[in-house]
């Protein structure tokens, strides 16, 4: 419960009608089945929700929380349990009213945006100016500001536009005290061009690898690095299936590549990065594409022994998709030749899928705008992911295969939906410094049997991570964090110190930033617990 006086302060801060403590209205923020392991799929109901319209109003709300012993947490579109409150004394700050593209600087190639600008609309504006922006894998509905400041932020286009953490060129940040801090060049009044100054560079403190998931102040503006866009100002799109029958521009070509071994596939990804070609590159198994586009046909294919799927996966084994974009026909031809050389040298084949009209029309916009994301719900209703980390592609690949063995067990016993394959989402960053991979599990969150699988499967994935010397991004979740932190330089102890230094009164909701929770081993096979103990003893505290 929030006191009337504290609630009155919040109303005063944001204006009448922009604060609520009506239970049913607040519950609309609490239904969060994604990444939610709880039995009833609701997250904790917060004390109130507010809708500030400006940085000043956010400051007022945060100061009010400091005065009244309340916590706060900000969100934008708010997809997933990590966006919810983790205790009842939290004031949720819904940033929906802060939805402006403040500036697009074409010459210096950056955009300054507020929290509720979504990736799709920013990209649409950028395309009109011959520019492009990175869209996170979560999809075009997601907030680029949230990705850049508070989450991980990789995506289909990371090969050409990197991850969100690399695209931050300064932020406006309301600290847990209510003070405003400008990071990067804005901090010295020099404009928004650089995240590392002149002016304070606290990018590592601010977000580290994966961000604080709303547990470390409120980011109210961000400058994002933009990239060149060789395509047209807009692409018309229509059609019954996923709204995606848009023509791929002439300056682009799209290939499906497959290989005789995983090693060859990964090697090809490395070489493509080194050759600096490609606009989009993403691994999706062929059967997964069938599943997303034709979900009603898929169970029939599985029931018939999966022969067709196995054939598909066999023909297009260890695959990835790549979209090439050239500034001129000559440059595009060059990229195509380089791609073919690389694929050949890695014992693979590159199918010119983009020359097949239905595939070209279907995949073009879905890849460019990352619109493929919502289709992942089509078949099962929900998905979970091991949220792999950022590592060398070899490591990512090995982890995925290790998890697959566990996943198959759950599929066999009805704990997960049979998706016909490994179902990895694997992408390449920049020029192959590293990459990212997630193993996707499809399930129906309405099915208790499926929900029961998630925790033990998550434990399996964590064990695999330790064996593969990887720190999963799912370490934002309190149980995984408690397991992983001692194995990786006690990272959470450092995060707690940072949090305490900036948040003297402890008013940020740190449930997905620094909080830890003991694992519930009652659902875990004792042999696996023993294995964890052995791994902890081997790697614990050493950081090796």
């Amino acid at each position: 419960m929030i006191s009337n006086s504290a609630y009155g302060e919040l109303e005063q801060a944001v204006g009448a009608g922009f604060a609520t403590r009506e239970p049913a209205m607040i519950d609309s923020y609490c239904w969060q089945p994604f990444l939610n392991m709880s039995d009833d799929l609701w997250v904790t109901r917060p004390a109130a929700v507010v809708l500030p319209a400006s940085t000043e109003q956010v400051q007022e709300v945060v100061r009010s929380c400091n005065r009244n012993g309340l916590k706060f947490k900000a969100l934008s579109t708010g997809w997933g349990a990590q966006n919810g409150a983790t205790s009842e004394d939290v004031v949720l700050i819904d940033l929906r009213r802060m939805d402006r593209i403040v500036e697009i600087d074409e010459q210096n190639m950056y955009a300054v945006v507020e929290p509720y600008v979504c990736g799709g609309e920013l990209q649409a504006e950028c395309w009109k100016r011959g520019l492009n922006t990175h869209i996170v894998g979560a999809g075009p509905h997601a907030s680029p500001l949230a990705g850049a400041t508070s989450m991980h932020g990789c995506g289909n286009d990371s090969i050409s536009m990197s991850t969100s953490s690399r695209n931050v060129l300064g932020v406006e940040w309301v600290l847990p005290s209510g003070d405003v801090l400008h990071l990067g060049s804005p901090g010295s009044g020099g404009g928004w061009f650089c995240g590392d100054g002149p002016g304070p560079s606290l990018r590592g403190i601010m977000r580290g690898t994966s961000g604080a998931f709303g547990g470390f102040g409120v980011f109210t503006k961000v400058a994002l690095k933009l990239y060149h866009w060789p395509g047209p100002p807009s692409i018309d799109s229509e059609g019954m299936v996923l709204d995606s029958t848009g023509e791929l521009p002439d300056c682009m070509r799209f290939f499906n590549c497959s290989f005789s071994s995983e090693r060859d596939s990964v090697e090809a990804m490395y070489r493509i990065g080194e050759a600096e070609i490609g606009c989009i590159q993403v691994r999706m198994v062929t059967s997964e594409l069938v599943l997303l586009i034709m979900p009603h046909l898929f169970p029939k294919l599985v029931k018939k022994g999966g022969t067709i799927l196995k054939l598909l996966n066999g023909v297009m084994a260890h695959p990835f998709m790549i979209l090439l974009a050239g500034n001129s026909p000559g440059e595009l031809d060059y990229q195509v030749k380089v791609l073919h050389d690389i694929i050949r040298s890695c014992n693979g084949i590159a199918m010119d899928t983009g020359s097949i009209a239905p595939a070209r029309k279907l995949m073009g916009m879905n890849l460019l705008r990352c619109t493929i994301f919502p289709t992942v719900f089509r078949f099962g209703n929900m998905f979970a992911t091991n949220l792999d980390g950022n590592e060398a592609l070899d490591t990512q690949s090995a982890w995925t295969h290790a998890i697959q063995e566990h996943k198959s067990g759950y599929v066999r016993t009805g704990g997960l939906i049979d998706d016909g394959g490994e179902n990895p989402y694997m992408i390449n960053y920049e020029n192959n410094l590293y990459g990212h991979c997630e193993t996707i599990y499809l399930y129906d969150h309405r099915n208790p049997r499926h929900r029961e699988s998630l925790e033990p499967l998550g434990f399996d994935a964590t064990l695999c991570a330790i064996e593969q010397c990887n720190v999963p991004l799912s370490a934002f979740e309190p149980v995984t964090r408690k397991i992983m932190s001692p194995l990786a330089y006690d990272f959470n102890e450092w995060q707690k110190k940072i949090s305490a230094a900036f948040d003297v009164n402890g008013v940020s909701d740190t449930g997905f930033y620094t909080d830890e929770k003991d694992p519930d081993f009652s659902k875990i096979d004792p042999a696996k617990i023993e294995k964890l103990r052995r791994l902890q003893a081997r790697f614990g505290k050493s950081g090796d």
Binding site: G17, F18, T20, E22, P23, A24, M25, D27, S28, Y29, C30, W31, Q32, P33, F34, L41, W42, V49, L51, T77, G78, W79, G80, D94, R96, R97, I101, V117, C118, G120, E121, L122, Q123, A124, E125, K128, P140, H141, S234, I235, S237, M240, V241, L242, D243, S244, G246, H296, M365, N366, R369, T371, P374, T375, F377, R378, G380, N381, M382, D444
Partner: protein, 427 residues
Amino acid sequence: MALADFRDDMMSCVRCSSCKWIPFNQMKSSRFAKNCPSICMHGFHSYSGSGRINMGLSLLEGRSELTEKVSEVIYSCQMCGACDTHCKVYREVIDVNDVFLELRARCVEDGQLMLEHMAVIDALKRENNMLGEPKAERGVWADGLGLKDINVEAADVMFHAGCRFAYDRDLWPGVRSAVKLLMAAGLDVGTAGAEESCCGGRAFELGYRGEARNFFEDMLARVKSSGASMLVTPCADGYAAFKYLFPLAGIELPVEVLHTAQLLERLLLEGRLRPRRRVPLKVTYHDPCHLGRMGEPYLGKWEGDKRERLRPMSRTGKNGVYDPPRNLLRSVPGLSLVEMERIREYAWCCGAGGGVIDAFPEYAEWTAAERLEEAVSTGAEILVTSCPWCERVLNDAVEKSGAGIEVRDLNEILLDSCAPGEGLVIE
């Protein structure tokens, strides 16, 4: 049906927020990227498609109560279906608007009513129309047109004007133009005149199912007794009621149901309607929600898990009436049709629907003003539409905002272009 019948739909919401935007592949600007007037106006998630069904689940599970404020949130929605359509771009499992209908029925059951809506229902009971105008004057709009009286003689086409067209004198040129065009094409058209009553669609949308059913049955009886083979209306709200709400309530009209735009397009293709006079205008077309995405026919109740429902068995919004009005406009010599960014199944609502024009007139006006801004951005001189409710609220918004654009009914433009000598009676 009851809210509990939609538990699976509500539980299937993953809260991805797609319902707040136009389909992502259609986004061409930031300014016109959003699709839901309700959350744009009010802000809280509970005002979105997802938020309302999250609230519905909360109410169903007894986590919260249906209060006056919650009722206000439920009714602060035009029922325009934009959220439903975008959700269905990717999935077939959630019938968002059907959940809204159940929430409203629950409000009425629980006595959480909006006073303004009660006034509408009172007017319906008293005068058989939503505007509270005298029953006896319902047929005045058709004076002098020579329409048959279907109460006393048979006609092939039963013309249903609808409440707004019947009583809103400002809009009479539109409805009269429609009749003139149909008659000029040689059709045998009749109307019920003073005996015509409301279709009942709005009452159903407001959750007053008993009252709505009375009007549905009255309409069914009138259609049957008319002997007509076709029911034609220029009102998008009425059209959606006949195509979706009637069968949802278990009532099938035994005739072909068409909006005037569909019938006129048919006449155009048959060569019975020939626009010849040049109309040198630059126009843009506003898709009425209830003629477009909400005008899709009811496809029956899906039994079982909706994940197994095939796309053609879902209300996707793709099969609304979008091309007939555009084809008619393109047939007009000299007329240039330019499109807004949000069109067809992802069009922005005019603001009038779902009882918003009655209970929240300022919100309706704001929604309309947004649409006007989009229309003006195309450089068009005229915003054409084919629904009297859209025309009313858009015209009111022009008057208040001074937006540099005129709003006209499709039928008026067509009549302008159909030269004398085609059998038309030009006043």
